[in-house]
């Protein structure tokens, strides 16, 4: 049932990457429980604008949990406390009247704050640039059905391929490691016949790039898996490890 609630927000405000940040307190009143978290922020921002203040900057685009552009840390949890949910899909019915909500940006050395809750996640693109592809030029591909892929393999690859590149794994990892993200792409391509020829090079280059970008080291804390909005499993990290050792020691 739809009802309305009042909330106190403690929001991280930071003017730019080099500025110092601080928490500001806002009151969000008459918030319908049917709203998404971002719609709640819209309402707060409208009020801030009318009051002559600067609205809170936060990234978002699709608002349906697939583009991976949204995300901040809500009461200590990236994308909030609901399992398998992006921030844009988090609805206010999961909060109670009178709650205080702390909202912070994703924090990692590899993710600079751009403004308030918006961070720079281009490091994730750089990891993909290091090898997250199959090297085929357009044209000249063989008939699609000439490559057989067993259904289970296609399913496993798809499980990994669902990653939306949101960076919540990094944000939730106590070590700010990007292993889940990296492993999802390595896994997808290592599983499929199309990705096999470059598997070794890919694993080594992507891991090396990930390390160079200043992400932390994975120590199997499993927070990423628990927090990932697409519920990507750490079996992918195990597969990445395998691929990496295979490549490092035997290729």
């Amino acid at each position: 049932m739809t009802k309305t609630i009042n909330l106190t927000l403690k929001v991280w405000r930071q003017n730019g990457p080099k500025n110092k940040g601080r928490f500001d307190t806002y009151h969000a009143e008459n918030i319908s429980t049917d709203m998404s978290f971002l719609e709640m922020l819209d309402v707060v921002n409208d009020q801030l604008t009318i009051d002559g203040k600067e609205p809170i900057a936060f990234d978002h685009d699709c608002r349906e949990g697939i583009c991976g552009q949204c995300g901040c840390v809500v009461n200590g949890r990236p994308h909030g406390a609901e399992k398998g949910t992006t921030l844009c899909q988090l609805h206010m019915r999961h909060f109670d009247n009178g709650d205080t909500i702390a909202i912070e940006p994703f924090r990692a050395m590899a993710f600079n704050v751009i403004k308030d809750l918006a961070v720079d996640r281009s490091a994730l693109d750089k990891i993909i640039q290091a090898g997250g592809y199959v090297s085929v030029n357009t044209g000249g591909a063989q008939d699609a059905n000439a490559i057989l892929v067993p259904q289970e393999v296609a399913d496993l690859a798809m499980d990994a391929a669902q990653c939306i590149g949101c960076g919540a794994c990094v944000a939730s990892c106590p070590n700010a490691s990007a292993m889940l993200f990296t492993s999802a792409k390595v896994s997808q391509l290592a599983l499929l016949p199309q990705g096999k020829p470059e598997a070794a090079k890919r694993a080594i280059n992507m891991v090396r790039t990930m390390d160079e970008l200043g992400f932390g080291n994975c120590s199997n804390e499993r927070e990423c898996e628990a927090e990932c909005p697409k519920e990507i499993s750490i079996t992918n990290i195990a597969r990445l490890n395998r691929e990496y050792f295979k490549a490092g020691f035997f290729s």
Binding site: E39, C62, R63, C67, Q69, T85, V149, G165
Partner: protein
């Protein structure tokens, strides 16, 4: 002036081959001397950038999002069509071509559509080679499903995330070229103007969305892949940043805008439930393969769906269209939903919804089978509505989803401005007045992977190379204009927020230029938009700084363009005194309440030319000639 679409001669099946042969080629060694700007990284822009770079061109690619992987294409759920005929159910290039022309209510250009059907198969091959995990059957072959009004199973899919997987494929190809140094990627940039030198597109002016800097980029050609303008309605299934700005700026520089009033309403979206709502969520229409659409037989029946016995339910699509049933094309399904709700049979709190019921399918196939097909969609529905579709029927209502209109392009996908190419949803070419399901992804990738890479060569090889730098005075002028507009927006300091204006505009458009239109309403809406626009420029409040990350300013620029563009849509809708596909003028309907075309007077694409602010746009006509498909009244009975 009649527009020349430069359709090659010869039988339709040979046009593209012949054209490719006749196009001039750029010598491989010379390709690296050409710079190409691609704006947009959706399926169209991503695939075009990667392919151009593979060919050897120097590419600069721009997008609004923080990463090219997040373009709006990512949200497409259902699938992508191809004429592979893998299921052996009688599909062919010809049938895909025919279905698309007919589905578009005979307002698309035959030659383009045929080419689209031809290259559709190459797309699937290419995507599989990239490692896209399409659904497979037990034997390991690709699986197909029937989709959105097609009577053959020609849709390839990757769970409910086909757009995501296809986009990530194009993105990975793009990233490969970035790593190779052939593509320079500029994310978080918004294109605010096209720069013309001697009538040719030679560059763009963009705003760096992080620090507000206005930047200039020059090139030998500009390719716009900036998506659709559905957000003119405020509430739509489009991503929040989808806009008309890039296309509209090009329009203001002389590119013709074709068929702006052709917008598509998608029948299966989660209904609107509050004024705070920021967007609408689509439920893939693949759901209509197994879900049955119904409303209570009696208007005002307030019982819960479980309490309504079979006898009191009206499965109106199945009853009205026995052979297509729940799978009628989108425009038909949408209009029927509206009709039922207008009769007072709508359900839910607002009465603006119909049921989509899976009880029979679950009963027939078992919950597991249904969960495997639609699990993620059901989950998404439950997240948003807190209702469980396994237990109770979904509630759905039509919403704005896609825009068939766009910048006018010829057979080479070049606009009337030489050197300015337009791909994907941003152009107008392939879907006529209504797009069939799973064919936008096909078109985006066809344009980017397999059409533009050839046709742009024809332009570049056939035009004297003129090296233009960003120091050219055309850039000075353009930048001045762009900064002037930004400064003006910042200085108004009024009382209403940008979103407030956007919502008002959206309501006007939905009410008067939405699912059904009439001349009186359109006329009224035009006045309302003019007033709203005038108020906007006096009363909008854009907080913050121009030289900063400023999301209100970004939105203000887009809404300002929507406020002008909305009027253009209305002008176009008023000019088209017929009904066809997504454009339904209540004056023109058959006895069965279907769109009634007027082929004698309106079998054309309407292309509008900007003739100065405050002036009526100038009308140009591209007559559509149907040599291969006979014009018929669509019927899905």
């Amino acid at each position: 002036m009649a527009l020349d679409a430069k359709i090659p001669g010869g039988p339709i099946a040979e046009k593209w081959d012949r054209h490719r042969f006749e196009l001039k080629l750029v010598n491989p060694a010379n390709k690296r001397k050409f710079n190409v700007i691609v704006v947009g990284t959706g399926l169209a822009g991503g695939s075009a950038s990667a392919t151009l770079a593979e060919l050897g061109y120097n590419v600069k690619t721009f997008c609004i999002q923080d990463s090219p992987r997040r373009a709006h294409s990512i949200a497409a759920q259902g699938g992508i069509n191809a004429a592979k005929n893998y299921p052996n159910d009688g599909d062919s290039i010809w049938r895909l071509f025919y279905d698309t022309v007919k589905g578009g209510d005979f307002r698309a250009r035959e030659a383009n559509v045929y080419r689209l059907a031809q290259v559709s198969n190459d797309i699937i091959d290419q995507c599989v080679a990239q490692g896209i995990p399409f659904a497979r059957d037990y034997g390991g072959l690709l699986d197909n499903r029937s989709f959105g009004g097609a009577q053959v199973s020609r849709t390839f899919y990757a769970r409910g995330q086909t757009g995501q997987q296809l986009l990530l494929g194009a993105y990975s190809a793009l990233m490969r070229q970035v790593a190779a140094g052939k593509v320079q990627m500029f994310p978080r940039r918004e294109m605010l103007d096209v720069v013309l030198v001697d009538g040719h597109a030679k560059g763009i002016v963009v705003r760096n969305m992080i620090n507000g800097a206005v930047e200039r980029h020059a090139a030998d050609a500009v390719v716009l892949c900036t998506g659709g303008y559905g957000n003119v309605f405020f509430l739509s299934t489009n991503a929040m940043a989808s806009n008309v700005t890039a296309a509209f700026r090009a329009y203001k520089k002389g590119a013709f805008f074709a068929n702006p009033c052709f917008t598509q309403i998608h029948p299966t979206c989660i209904p609107v439930h509050g004024t705070f709502q920021s967007k609408l969520t689509l439920m893939s229409e693949s759901l209509r393969n197994d879900g049955r659409v119904w409303v209570p037989k009696n208007p005002g029946d307030k019982r819960t769906p479980e309490q309504i016995p079979e006898a009191d339910r009206d499965y109106y699509l199945e009853n009205k269209y026995p052979s297509f049933g729940n799978l009628v094309p989108r425009d038909v399904a949408s209009r029927n939903a509206k009709e039922q709700c207008d009769m007072g049979k709508g359900v839910g709190e607002t009465g603006q919804a119909v049921y989509l019921d899976f009880a029979d399918a679950i009963h027939r196939d078992g919950r597991d089978v249904i969960a495997k097909k639609y699990g993620n969609l059901f989950q998404m529905y439950e997240k948003i509505t807190a209702d469980d579709p396994y237990q109770t029927p979904m509630m759905i209502y039509p919403a704005i989803h896609y825009t068939m209109g766009g910048l006018w392009v010829d057979y080479n996908l070049m606009s009337n401005v030489p050197g300015l190419f337009v791909l994907g949803e941003a152009n107008f070419s392939d879907h006529g007045a209504n797009r069939l399901g799973a064919s936008a992804l096909m078109q985006g990738l066809a344009d980017g992977y397999f059409v533009l890479p050839y046709t742009i060569g024809g332009y570049l090889a056939g035009t004297a190379k003129a090296d233009v730098t960003t120091g050219h005075k055309a850039f000075d002028e353009s930048e001045k204009q762009v900064t002037g507009r930004i400064d003006r927006l910042m200085s108004i300091d009024g009382k209403r927020t940008v979103d407030d204006f956007h919502k008002t505009l959206g309501r006007i458009m939905w009410e008067y230029c939405g699912m059904a239109r009439n001349n009186e309403g359109l006329g009224m809406a035009r006045g309302m938009i003019q007033e709203l626009r005038a108020e906007f420029w006096e009363n909008v409040r854009v907080p913050g700084n121009a030289a900063d990350f400023n999301q209100s300013l970004e939105r203000a620029g887009r809404v300002a363009d929507f406020l002008e563009f909305g009027e253009l849509m209305i002008v176009d809708a008023l000019a088209r005194q017929e009904s066809c596909g997504g454009h339904f003028n209540e004056r023109f309907e058959t006895e069965e309440h279907e769109a009634l075309r007027d082929d004698d007077n309106f079998c054309h694409a309407a292309a509008w030319e900007h003739s100065g602010d405050g002036r009526e746009p100038e009308f140009h006509k591209e007559p559509l000639v149907f040599e291969n498909v006979k014009l018929t009244q669509r019927s899905y009975k």
